[in-house]
Structure formats: C-alpha cells, structure tokens
C-alpha cells in the first residue's frame, strides 16, 4: 500500500518533466519573428519632397496699339493624304507640328485685340506642278504671306521658293517669330536653310537644369539679359525642351537659361540664349512654351503678350492679293501711330 503514493509521485513528476520540457523546448526553439524595430525613414517624410502641383494662372495682355494686323501661323502641320478633309494634327491627333490649342494663348490675345489670325496648312490638292525656271507662280505660302503683316512658324523644312517668299516678307518689314525645337535625335534642331534665311542659328542638343527647374529637368527657366520690350514683366519664363538659338546680330540675346543650366550634348554649363531677336525676327528654341498649360507657368503669359506686341508692331504694308486691300495703316487723324518700334 505504501507503493501507491510513490507511483503516484513518479507519475506526476514524469508528466511534469515531459510537459515542462516540451514547454521549455518550445520556448527555446521558438522560430517566431522578433518584434520588428521601428525604422525611421526621414527622407520619405520631408515636406519639401512633395512637388507643388498648382497649375498657375495666365493673363496674356497686349500693350501695342497697332490697328488690325494679319498674323499668319504655320503650325508645322503636314498635309494629310490627298483628299483628306481635315488636318488631324490640328486637333491634337497625329504627329508633327503644334496643335491648335497649343497656339491658343497667343492667338486669343491677338484676336481679343482686334487682329486677324490665319493658320497655314499646305493643301496637297493645290500642289503646284513642276515649274519651269523663270516662270514660278507664287507658292501657297507666298500667297498667304502676301496678305500678312506678321508670321509665326513652327516649321523648319521649307522649299527654296517658300524660303524666298519668307525672305522677301522679312525684307518688306514683316515680323517673324520662329519657334524651333530640339529634334528627335537632338543632333540638329533647325533646318540650315531657314536659319540662313532668317540669319539665326540653332545648336544641337537641349538645355536642362538639374538643380532648379519647373517640375522636370528639361523644363528650364530662362531670364532676361536686360530690359527691353520683349522682356517687360518677364522675370522668368519656362521653356520645356529648349534648344539654344543665336543670331548674327550683336546684343540680340533676349532670354538666357538661368545659372546651373547645362547642354545635353556637352554636359557642360551653357549660357547660350533661348530667345534672340534680330530686328524683325525673333527665334525661340522651344515651341511648347505658349501652350495653355505652359502659359500658366512662371511669366510665360507676359512673354506671350510681348511676342504678340512684337508681331503686330511691324513696318509692313502688305500689298494684298493684287494690291486690292491696300495698306493696313492708312494715315488717319486722331489714330495713334500704328507702327512703333517694339524695342
């Protein structure tokens, strides 16, 4: 009978050892993850990290008091297939050139101030037959330019006879704005023949700024080199994908990229201007800056207004088709002088 407590004790002890051992083993060999330490990634919580996405405001205003002028715009749109009723790129479809909306801030400012805006798109159905030397009829472009006082072009690939028309247009006092782009290969933006006609130059490559830019390294800021009519109210302008431009004239630089800007081809700092003026010709190394979205950035709206002033403040009196329309600025008493100098 005395064995019963002993056996009972042995049973209890063994059970305790086994269960206790299992518990201890389970605890010792536990494979669970330790409590994860908190990791502070301060770089994710920097308030400066969030880029400002306010679109901004644009107020394009003109100061020029010139009477109604006719501004012809060549958006650089290629004609669609012969018989095509509507140039698709004009409504933003397809490639090449700028869309109608892209020139709206400039066009609207001109229209609001009583000027005429025409858009030139070559009509493939009116393509001239091969001509004999010495018997050139006017080109489609030439016909349109004859009626215009100012010309804005986004195209660089003109035929020789079109270049002749542009040259005589400039010679007769017409004002020209050439908006060019770095080309796709960034090797040579403009066409040499047009550049030669307008006495401007373009450089290969695009300008960028890693340190200070408008939401992208290619959207560079440019600032005025000095006070002049074209830079009135323009502290800084934004040029998305800009290429350096130049001209033969001295003192023609109008806007230069801000300090810290570099050129893609050299990866070296550049001060080459992005907007130059040589008399009646303004060359801009970018064609996107006047789109509605970009007009709201920095002082682009003021720049667009100044360009509109430049366009309508010309010395040209278009003969019109057959000279029928006569001069656009008949001297009238009480009228402000139509053609001043745009500085």
């Amino acid at each position: 009978m005395s064995r019963l407590p002993t056996l009972a004790a042995a049973f209890v002890v063994t059970l305790a050892v086994v269960t206790g051992g299992a518990a201890v083993t389970g605890y010792v060999t536990a494979d669970g993850a330790a409590p994860a330490p908190a990791i502070q990634n301060d770089h994710y919580q920097n308030p400066d990290l969030i880029a400002n996405d306010t679109p901004g405001q644009a107020t394009v205003e003109m100061d020029a008091t010139a009477r109604s002028q006719t501004v012809l715009v060549d958006p650089g749109v290629e004609p669609t297939s012969p018989g095509g009723a509507f140039p698709l790129p004009l409504i933003g479809l397809g490639g090449g050139g700028v869309a109608d909306r892209d020139i709206r801030p400039l066009a609207n400012a001109l229209i609001e101030n009583g000027h005429e805006v025409g858009v030139y798109v070559p009509d493939p159905n009116q393509r001239r037959p091969p001509t004999r030397p010495g018997a050139d009829p006017p080109t489609q472009l030439g016909e349109r330019l004859a009626e215009a006082d100012a010309f804005v072009t986004f195209r660089t690939d003109y035929e020789p006879d079109e270049l002749d028309a542009i040259e005589s247009f400039v010679d007769s006092g017409g004002h020209v704005v050439l908006a060019t782009e770095p080309d796709a290969a960034y090797s040579e933006p403009g066409a040499a023949s047009l550049d030669a006609t307008l006495d401007v130059t373009t450089e290969p490559g695009y300008v960028y700024n890693m340190a200070e830019n408008d939401l992208n390294y290619q959207r560079v800021y440019a600032e005025a080199t000095r006070e002049m009519a074209l830079t009135e109210g323009v502290d800084r302008a934004v040029f998305p994908s800009a290429t350096p431009v130049g001209t033969t004239a001295t003192g023609a630089d109008v806007l230069r990229p801000i300090a810290g800007s570099e050129l893609s081809t050299t990866r070296a700092p550049t001060e080459a201007p992005l907007l130059v003026r040589n008399d009646g010709v303004v060359a801009i190394g970018d064609s996107d800056f006047l789109s509605p979205d970009n007009a709201r950035r920095a002082d682009n709206d003021a720049l667009i207004g100044n360009l509109a002033d430049f366009l309508v403040t010309n010395d040209r009196t278009p003969p019109g088709p057959g000279g029928a329309s006569g001069p656009t600025q008949p001297p009238q008493p009480g009228q402000p002088p139509a053609n001043g100098t745009a500085g």
Partner: protein, 329 residues
C-alpha cells in the same frame, strides 16, 4: 522458502524504481537533446543567398519580402547575400524590397552581389545593404523615374470629379517629379556619404560599369557572388558555413518588359491576350535595358514571313501578332 517468496516482490519494486528513473532521464534527455544538438551545431552557420532577378514587380517583391522575413526569424541564418540581376521595374515593388532589405540589414550582415545589372528599382532595393559587390562589367545606377511626358487628353463625361478619369498636365509633372525625388532622396540617405558626387549628378540617373562604380561610390567592392558570400560569412564570424539559395519570383510571376515609344509595358504571357498586357506608366527602370517594341516587331516580321503568314499592315491583330511572335521568339 519465505525469502524466495518475498524476493521477487522486493526485486520488482527496485526494478520499477530504476525503470522510473531511467524513463524520467530518457524523457528529460529526449527533451534536452535538440537544444544540446543545436548548441553544439552552431545555430548561425548558414549564409542565405536571395535571388532578385528579372523585372521588379509585385510577384518578385512578394517573394523577396517573405524570404527575408523568414531569414530574420531563422536563427540558423547568420548573413544574407542578395544576388541581383534586374533592370528595375515598378516603384512600389522596388520600395517594398528596399524596406525588407533595410530591416534585414539591421539584424545581420547583408551584402548585395550584382551580376550583369542592378539598375533603377534594382539599385533601390539593394541600397540598404552593408556592402555592394559588383563585377568589373556589371551595370549599376539609373537612379530616377521613367515616365512619358504628360499629355492633355480630352476629359470624358461621366466620372464624378475632374481627377477621377482625367488629370492636369502640371499635376502629373509634379507627381512624376515627386516620384523621382523620393527615389533620389532615399538613395542619398542610404549612400550619400559614399557617392563621390552631388545630388544633382546622382539625379541625372546615369549608369556605371563596376570598375567605375567602385570609384564613384555606387558600389564598394569588385567581387563575384562567392566572394560576397564569403565576405558576409566572415563579417558574421560564421567559420564553416553552408549556403542556402532562395529562389524568388517564380517562373510564371515574372513578366516580359518591353517599351513602346512612350512607356514600358509588362507582358505576362508568351502569347498574350489583352489581360496579360499591363502598361506601366511610371517605372523605376533602366530604359535602355528594356527592349523596344520595334525590335520585337522586326524579329517577328521575319518569323511571320518565313512562316508564310500574310497580313495587312494596318490591322490591330497584326500588331498583336507581331508582339506575340516577338516575345515568344
């Protein structure tokens, strides 16, 4: 024979007592044995090699996160080597791997071993490693965002708010810049002391060969995977160690990456239908490492021609066919 009658009874009690003691000892021993075995067998004698290969996407991030969590919880793993071969990919997947590597490197030595390329999102993922090993002709870098320029699209009628289905280009530009800065800032926080260049230069997103990377701070050592494993074991004083390779991503999980003129597209099947093609608008990917879709079209055009297939140029099915053929080839 009274003694012979009593003897069995006494002997049995004694044996019972011995048996109880032996049984108890055996039980205790059985319980203690694993611990004793583990103690004498060195618990931290394994170097885990975690593969980070192919385009960075959700499937890869899932696997890498789970492997690294398992490794952190496993006492027998003493160090980790990341075996990287990736051109990058999706931003969120890159960030997930970055966080997992960062957490692991707080627990143990983590060494990154770059094979042919670890760029963009791949570089993001390995940046918190204690050291980056490269081969002389490995490619590293490309710290930046890939995204097409925002375009103004016509706003559809119907959605409940202006940003539901449309966006403002400026807002998209800002978002892209923020995504790029997030990446660059993280890399400056991880390796800013190593980079032999200012932040603006890092943000140019250039790639460097291994030989240059060890000079400009994008990498630390020239060395192979084996050397990285040995360095990791040495850093943790592992003595004799075994290598445990953890495969990730899975065969089916990794898509083909191709790029069109404007963006990167992930294709999740050899013969993709619409459901298998996933446009990736904004990516942390090294752009030149992703084949351009034109190349694929050219390859498959030859295939189509030799296969005698005749198709019209403008049909959509033809474009899909070319794409499928090219990816398959």
């Amino acid at each position: 024979m009274p003694m012979s009658i009593d003897k069995p009874s006494t002997a049995l009690t004694s044996r019972q007592q011995v048996a109880v003691v032996v049984l108890a000892a055996a039980l205790v021993g059985a319980v203690l044995a694993p611990s004793v075995y583990a103690a004498t067998n060195e618990p931290s004698d394994t170097v885990a090699v975690v593969e980070v290969e192919g385009p960075v996407n959700t499937a890869l991030a899932d696997d890498v996160e789970s492997e690294l969590a398992d490794i952190r919880a496993n006492d027998s793993v003493g160090a980790v080597v990341l075996k990287l071969d990736t051109p990058g990919g999706a931003p969120v997947a890159s960030e997930r791997m970055y966080k997992a590597v960062q957490r692991t490197s707080q627990d143990m030595t983590v060494i990154a071993s770059v094979q042919s390329i670890s760029a963009s999102g791949g570089y993001y993922a390995m940046a918190p490693a204690d050291e980056i090993y490269v081969l002389p002709t490995s490619t590293v870098g490309s710290i930046g965002l890939n995204a097409p320029a925002p375009r103004t699209a016509s706003t559809p009628l119907g959605p409940s708010g202006p940003d539901k289905a449309g966006s403002n280009p400026t807002q998209t530009w800002a978002q892209q810049q923020t995504l790029a800065d997030t990446f660059v800032d993280a890399m400056m926080a991880e390796r800013g002391d190593e980079f032999e260049m200012p932040r603006e230069e890092v943000a140019k997103a250039d790639v460097y060969l291994g030989t240059k990377a060890v000079q400009n701070g994008y990498a630390d050592e020239i060395g192979s995977l084996n050397e990285a494993v040995h360095a990791a074991a040495t850093a943790e004083n592992l003595g004799e160690y075994t290598v445990d390779t953890r495969e990730t991503g899975g065969i089916s999980g990794l898509p083909f990456l191709v790029r069109t003129d404007t963006q990167v597209v992930a294709i999740h099947a050899n013969n993709p239908g619409y459901a298998d093609v996933e446009p990736m608008g904004m990516t942390y990917v090294h752009w030149p490492a992703v084949p351009h879709v034109d190349t694929i079209e050219r390859f498959s055009e030859t295939n189509l021609r030799t296969g005698g297939a005749t198709q019209t140029d403008s049909s959509t099915s033809n474009a899909t066919g070319r794409l499928a053929g090219g990816v398959g080839a």
